[in-house]
C-alpha cells in the first residue's frame, strides 16, 4: 500500500547490482578479508522430486536489503550453537568474497569468522506461538503460461478446515499457532522468468523484491508476519521456505517467507511454511533428506483423493519442542544411571496424560535421542503414517544438516519400515550410547516404554564368553554383576543369541547351540532402578567329524556320538534323526561336490 516504503528496497537492488557489476568488471578473482553485517536468513530448498539432497541457503541481508549468500561449514557454525541458533540473528561475517558472474547474481562469501551482534532473534521469538498472519501473493511471470493453483484452491490450503494450513498447524501446535491467511494478486512480475535464474539457480532476493514490489500497491505488508509467493513457474524444480529480511511498508524486519513453484501441493505449503516458522529438515541417517515419512519436514505426506492434493503428516516431537509447543511437564529427560517406565502420548492429537517427548542424552557432546509415539490420528492418518510405533531420532542440534535423523537399525536405507519402528516387546539397546529402551505395551493413545541409561550396575563377566560347539550342550557361562547385588534380572538387550541358547533371568546361558559362528549381543542386568549393559562375544564352532564315520553311521555302521549326530541333524533337516538329508547338508557345508 505504501509505495515509498519500497524506495530503500529499490535502492538496495541498485546498490547490489552495481556492486555486482563492479566486482564482475574489476575483480575476476576471490577477494579475501571482506566483512559484511546483516541479518542471517536461513532458506531451505525443496525439490519437487523426493529423496534428493536439499540445499540450505544462508543469506545475510543488510539494512538496505542487499543479500549475500554465505558458504559456511559446521565448524564455522558450531561455536555459535549451530545453524538454528544463528538463524535470524544479526551477524558480522568476514570471509572470501567470490565475484558475481552475472549482473543480477547474488555474491557469495566463504565464511572465515562470524561475530554475532545483539543476542535476540529477529522477529521470531524462542517460542513460536500466536496467530501468524500470512499474505499469499500470486505473482506471474510474463513469459509463462503455467497457471498455479487457483485462488479458491489456495484458500482451501490456507484455511481452518482440513487440509488447510491453519487447521494443520493448529493441530501440530495444539492451537498454539494459527495461520491467518490473506490473498492478493495475480501480480505481474517485471521481468521474464529467465531473468530470475542467476548463477544457475533462482535468485531468491530478486523474486522476493519484485513480487512484493508488484503487490505493494494493493497490500499493506505491515499487517503480516509472513509472505507466501506463489509463482506461475516450476522455479526450475524447487520451492523454498525460510525467512527474508526486508523493509516493507515501513517495517524493517525479518519476514517469514515461502517461494512456491507451480507444482506445490498442500504438503509443499505445509513443509515450506514449517521452514518459515523456523523448522529445519529431518531425515533418515542416510544421504537423502526427504526419506522419512514420519515428518512433514522430510517426506511425510500422501495424496488424499477426497481433497485432491498431497496432505502432510505431523512434524516430529523434536521439532515441536524446538518451537516451544511441548510443555516442560510433558517432556521426559532421562538422567544418567536411571531406569523409568513412562507413558508416551501420541504425536498427533495427544491426550491429556503422558509425555509427548522423551529425550535421552547420548555422551557429552550435546547429542541426544528422542522418543515419540506415533499412532493414527488427525494428520497422522492410517495410510499416511508408515505405521504405529515408537520412533527414535538421534539429534545433533549443532550440525548444518538435518538435526534429527531417524534411528534405523537394519541399515537398509528405508526409515519407514520395521527397522525404525519399535513396537511392544521390542528393545532398542546401544552399548555405545549407554541406552536401553523397551516398548512394554500400547496404551490408549500411545505406548508405555522403559527408558534406561547405563551407570549404576557393572557387569563383571568377561566380554568374551567361553566358546561352544554346535550340537553340544553349552554349559559355559553364568553372568555376574559387580558386587553381586541381590534380585538382579538378566536379559538380552541387543543382537541375538545363537539359536538354541537362552539366557535365563538368573544369568545362566543354557541350551544346545544350533548355529555356528561368532555372535555379538548385548546383555542387560537390572536391579531396582539400577541398570547395566555390556556387549558380549560368543564363538560357536562346528565339531570336527570324520567323513568315514558319518557315512558309516548313515549306511548302517557304527553310530556317531550323540553330540555329533545332533550337530549333523541341526545342520540338516532338524528332524531328530540322522538321515541322508543331514549328510548331504554336511557335505555341502564341507565343500564336497555332491551335485545340485
Amino acid at each position: 500500500m505504501n509505495r515509498t516504503a519500497f524506495r530503500p528496497l529499490r535502492r538496495a537492488a541498485l546498490v547490489l547490482a552495481a556492486a555486482g557489476l563492479t566486482a564482475w568488471a574489476s575483480t575476476p578473482g576471490v577477494v579475501p578479508g571482506e566483512t559484511r553485517t546483516g541479518w542471517l536468513n536461513v532458506v531451505w530448498q525443496t525439490r519437487g522430486v523426493e529423496n534428493e539432497l536439499a540445499h540450505v541457503g544462508l543469506f545475510l541481508v543488510d539494512e538496505e536489503g542487499a543479500a549475500i549468500e554465505l558458504r559456511a561449514t559446521d565448524a564455522d557454525l558450531a561455536p555459535h550453537g549451530g545453524l538454528l541458533r544463528l538463524n535470524g540473528r544479526r551477524l558480522t561475517v568476514t570471509g572470501d568474497l567470490s565475484p558475481v558472474r552475472e549482473p543480477r547474481g547474488t555474491p557469495t562469501l566463504r565464511v572465515r569468522a562470524i561475530t554475532p551482534r545483539g543476542g535476540a532473534r529477529a522477529a521470531l521469538s524462542a517460542v513460536v506461538d500466536g496467530s501468524r498472519s500470512y499474505v499469499t501473493l500470486v505473482c506471474r511471470f510474463p513469459d509463462h503460461g503455467i497457471e498455479p493453483s487457483g485462488t479458491a484452491t489456495l484458500r482451501r490450503w490456507m484455511g481452518d478446515a482440513y487440509p488447510g494450513l491453519d487447521h494443520f498447524w493448529r493441530e501440530n501446535s495444539e492451537n498454539r499457532v494459527s495461520i491467518d491467511a490473506a490473498f492478493a494478486g495475480p501480480f505481474l512480475m517485471p521481468l521474464p522468468s529467465t531473468s530470475y535464474n542467476t548463477n544457475g539457480s533462482a535468485n531468491l532476493a530478486m523474486l522476493f523484491n519484485d513480487c512484493t514490489r508488484a503487490a505493494d500497491p494493493e497490500v499493506d505488508f505491515s499487517q503480516y508476519a509472513g509472505v507466501n509467493m506463489q509463482f506461475n513457474s516450476t522455479l526450475w524444480g524447487y520451492s523454498w521456505g525460510g525467512s527474508w529480511s526486508a523493509t516493507l511498508d515501513g517495517q524493517a524486519r525479518r519476514w517469514a517467507a515461502t517461494w512456491m513453484a507451480s507444482w506445490a501441493t498442500q504438503s509443499t505449503y505445509a513443509h515450506e511454511t514449517g521452514h518459515s516458522l523456523g523448522l529445519p529438515h529431518s531425515s533418515g541417517p542416510y544421504t537423502a533428506v526427504y526419506d522419512s515419512k514420519w515428518d512433514v519436514m522430510s517426506g511425510g505426506g500422501s495424496t488424499d483423493a477426497t481433497v485432491g492434493t498431497r496432505v502432510a503428516t505431523h512434524t516430529i516431537a523434536y521439532h515441536k519442542d524446538l518451537m516451544g509447543w511441548i510443555p516442560a511437564s510433558r517432556k521426559y529427560v532421562a538422567r544418567p544411571g536411571t531406569s523409568a517406565t513412562i507413558d508416551l502420548a501420541r504425536d498427533a492429537l495427544p491426550g491429556a496424560a503422558g509425555y509427548q517427548l522423551a529425550q535421552v542424552p547420548v555422551g557429552t557432546s550435546g547429542t541426544f535421542l528422542t522418543l515419540e509415539a506415533r499412532r493414527y490420528a488427525g494428520y497422522d492418518a492410517q495410510g499416511r503414517l508408515p505405521g504405529e510405533a515408537v520412533i527414535l531420532h538421534l539429534v545433533n542440534p549443532v550440525g548444518s544438516g538435518p538435526p534429527a535423523r531417524v534411528v534405523d537399525v537394519d541399515g537398509n536405507g528405508n526409515v519407514n519400515d520395521a527397522g525404525a519402528m519399535w513396537v511392544p516387546g521390542e528393545t532398542f539397546a546401544s552399548v555405545e550410547m549407554g541406552v536401553s529402551i523397551r516398548v512394554l505395551s500400547a496404551t490408549a493413545d500411545g505406548f508405555r516404554v522403559e527408558v534406561s541409561t547405563t551407570g549404576t550396575l557393572a557387569i563383571a563377566t568377561d566380554s568374551v564368553l567361553p566358546a561352544g560347539t554346535m550340537g553340544a550342550d553349552y554349559g559355559g557361562a553364568a553372568f555376574a554383576a559387580d558386587g553381586a547385588p541381590a534380585g538382579v534380572t538378566w536379559s538380552v538387550a541387543s543382537g541375538a543369541l545363537p539359536g538354541g541358547l537362552t539366557l535365563t533371568p538368573t544369568g545362566q546361558l543354557v541350551g544346545v547351540p544350533a548355529q555356528a559362528g561368532v555372535f555379538r549381543f548385548g546383555v542387560r542386568v537390572t536391579a531396582g532402578n539400577g541398570f547395566g549393559i555390556k556387549e558380549m562375544r560368543l564363538e560357536i564352532a562346528k565339531p570336527q567329524v570324520a567323513q568315514t564315520a558319518v557315512l558309516d553311521a548313515l549306511l548302517g555302521g557304527a553310530t556317531l556320538p550323540p553330540d555329533q549326530q545332533r550337530f549333523l541333524d541341526l545342520l540338516g533337516n532338524q528332524n531328530g534323526r540322522l538321515d541322508v538329508g543331514d549328510v548331504r547338508a554336511w557335505m555341502i557345508d564341507q565343500g564336497h561336490p555332491v551335485g545340485s
Binding site: L551, D552, L554, L555, G556, D579, D582, A585, P593
Partner: protein, 133 residues
C-alpha cells in the same frame, strides 16, 4: 491231452540238451557289472540311500551318471549306497558282482531320500528300482 503230452516231451528234450552243453559239471561264475536303475523317481530328489541284497557280495559300486556321487558300505552279500546328485529316472548305480547271471536274484530298494532342501522324504513307497545286466 495230445497237446500237453507233446509239450512235456519237448520240455524234457530241452532240459537234456542243456545238461549236455554243460558237460555235466556246474556252470562257471561270470563276474561283471549290473546296473541299478530308478524306474519311478520323485521329482526334486537330491540324495538317496539304496539297499542292495543278492546272492553274491557286491565288490564295487560306481555311480551310473557322471553327475552323481556314490558312497557305499558293504556287509556280507548286502550293500548300502548313498547317491547324491540331481537324481532322475534311469541308471543310478553300476555294481560289480561275482556272477551277473544271477542278476535277477539281486534286489534294490530306496530306504532314505531327501530333496534339494535336505528335507527327508516321509515315505519310500513310491520308489521302484530294477537290477539288470
Amino acid at each position: 491231452m495230445k497237446t500237453l503230452t507233446c509239450s512235456a516231451a519237448l520240455l524234457a528234450a530241452a532240459l537234456l540238451a542243456a545238461c549236455g552243453e554243460s558237460g555235466g559239471t556246474p556252470a562257471q561264475a561270470s563276474p561283471g557289472v549290473l546296473t541299478v536303475s530308478l524306474a519311478a523317481p520323485v521329482a526334486g530328489d537330491r540324495a538317496l540311500v539304496i539297499a542292495i541284497t543278492g546272492p553274491g557280495q557286491v565288490s564295487e559300486v560306481q555311480p551310473a551318471v557322471p553327475g552323481y556321487t556314490a558312497f557305499a558300505r558293504t556287509q556280507g552279500t548286502g550293500a548300502r549306497v548313498a547317491v547324491m546328485g540331481a537324481i532322475a529316472a534311469g541308471p543310478v548305480l553300476r555294481i560289480t558282482v561275482p556272477d551277473v547271471r544271477q542278476a535277477k536274484q539281486y534286489q534294490a530298494a530306496v530306504v532314505d531320500a531327501a530333496d534339494g532342501g535336505n528335507t527327508a522324504r516321509a515315505s519310500m513307497a513310491a520308489y521302484s528300482l530294477t537290477v539288470s545286466r
